[in-house]
């Protein structure tokens, strides 16, 4: 195996791989956060929304969880841009230039959102009803209740599911290779194809992904410990 191919500066491809890793992380972070926003909205809607909102959210989460991510990514990557531009057109605005990154984040976010919705809904349901009733009894507005009581109280229940979603987000970014987005997996394939050293580059990329997972696990462990403060230790 020729390790000089992985040198950080040309003719080594290490720099390209790291740039790819950076794009992957951008996608994962952006998509994950967007997913959380959708998830908070979705969970609130599923728990407290009217019947139509609930059913629509059910359709959304069911669809996303039943259709392969790869298919969703293809659909949303092209349709997302098209829809935004047609919307802009309807509103009489000039069409927008949507970067590949924004489209990628949108795609990952929509997929993550469905899972986040379920994780958060489960976590909110795990909060003792009395705590939320007490907040209402104090005359807190729904938004204040959400901010002061519901979100902090559900956190310990949500952390395992949410951290798992983060790990999935980092791996799902690889699927954007199929639409030609220059993230880690695609640049790896390009480097491998250009140099014909497939094993070297795929193993290197695998090591990078694994490093992301392992570092994430350490951080998740710390967060879990912190989130569980003051909770009865499970047997």
């Amino acid at each position: 195996m020729d390790l000089s191919l992985l040198a950080l500066s040309p003719p080594g491809w290490g720099g390209v791989l790291l740039a790819g890793l950076f794009s992957s992380l951008q996608l994962a972070v952006g998509g994950y956060l967007l997913g959380l926003v959708i998830g908070i909205g979705g969970a609130s809607g599923k728990l407290y929304g009217g019947p139509i909102v609930r059913d629509l959210l059910e359709v959304y989460t069911t669809l996303v969880r039943a259709i392969p991510e790869l298919v969703l990514i293809l659909l949303l990557y092209y349709a997302g841009t098209d829809l935004v531009n047609q919307l802009m057109h309807l509103l009489g605005l000039p069409s927008m230039d949507i970067s590949g990154l924004a489209a990628g984040i949108f795609v990952i976010g929509v997929v993550q959102g469905a899972y986040s919705t379920e994780v958060l809904r489960g976590a909110i349901k795990a909060i003792p009803a009395g705590e939320i009733e007490a907040a209402r009894a104090y005359g807190m507005s729904p938004l204040l209740t959400l901010r002061r009581v519901t979100l902090p109280a559900m956190l310990p229940y949500a952390v395992p599911g949410l951290s798992n979603l983060w790990l999935i987000a980092t791996k799902d970014t690889a699927l954007l290779a199929v639409v030609g987005f220059s993230e880690l997996t695609l640049v790896t394939r390009q480097a491998a194809g250009s140099t014909k050293h497939y094993m070297t580059f795929f193993l290197a990329a695998g090591a990078l992904y694994l490093a992301v997972t392992l570092v994430s696990n350490v951080i998740i462990g710390m967060i879990e410990k912190r989130a569980r403060r003051g909770m009865v230790r499970e047997a």
Partner: protein, 260 residues
């Protein structure tokens, strides 16, 4: 808790901001996100290099356009063009009647024959008889794939379609394919590489079929984008006339790649 809310708010903002980041847009040139030497391939510093990149620079300088390369998967180029993710396709795409139903093209900027490559130890002719019972590799949605479907389908045992030509070449070297059918110049680039030299050689050009192989390669354009089409056509003609085309082509080829 506050920090979480802040992060969430920030994420929403970032999401909106990155979508809203529209500017005086340069022309986005869609390039297939794969090594396709000597026309377009990524180098070790992450930049795109090759003959078509030089051509793009020359054409855009001539037409006073600001151009930037946007890598897209080969089979996603036309959808990306019609859904306005890119403005132009710069990816050795042949001008065919089938494609003209969906998109428009500039005038041609190069034209080359199609040829077959196979393992050194095998000897066969570049036609249906030579390919009898062989496994043939082509790149998806290329003129070569269509040509193979039309002329070789009944002879070969299987036609395998690859996302990138580079993968087909690799499988030829790995012995999983008995032949690869592709553009002559690109195949030469592979056959002159270390991997290609070791395993394979050229079996010859196939008989022309203009209906499938098309009339050369041009910039792919959205239908109705006549302003850009006019500018590109004028620029292609200008660099052909003033010698720029010949100048940068010399770095790659010892013949006129423009064809007849």
């Amino acid at each position: 808790m506050k920090s979480i809310l802040k992060t969430v708010a920030l994420a929403a903002l970032v999401g909106v901001a990155s979508v809203g980041a529209a500017s005086a847009a340069p022309i986005k040139m869609g390039v297939a996100a794969e090594p396709y030497p000597p026309f377009t391939s990524p180098d070790a510093s992450g930049k795109w290099v090759g003959w078509e990149v030089d051509l793009m620079n020359a054409v855009c300088a001539e037409a006073k356009l600001e151009c930037e390369i946007t890598p897209i998967a080969w089979d996603g180029l036309i959808p990306a063009l019609t859904s306005k993710k890119i403005d132009t396709i710069l990816s050795s795409m042949s001008i065919t009647d089938e494609r003209l139903k969906t998109i428009d093209f500039s005038d041609k900027y190069y034209n080359t024959p199609a040829s077959l490559a196979g393992p050194k130890e095998a000897s066969f002719t570049a036609d249906a008889a030579g390919l009898k019972d062989k496994i043939l590799g082509v790149q998806v949605s290329t003129i070569h794939a269509e040509y193979a479907q039309k002329h070789f389908k009944d002879a070969v045992s299987e036609i395998k379609e690859y996302q990138t030509l580079d993968e087909a070449n690799n499988d030829l070297a790995a012995g999983r394919l008995d032949a690869v059918f592709a553009d002559a110049i690109t195949l030469d680039a592979f056959l002159n590489s270390e991997q290609g030299k070791a395993c394979c050689d050229k079996k010859g050009d196939v008989a022309d079929d203009p209906a499938v192989l098309g009339a050369g390669i041009g910039f792919g354009l959205r239908k109705g984008d006549d302003e850009l089409k006019g500018k590109l056509n004028a620029a292609i003609k200008a660099i052909r006339d003033n010698g720029t085309y010949e100048k940068f082509s010399k770095n790659y080829f010892d013949f006129d790649v423009y064809g007849k």
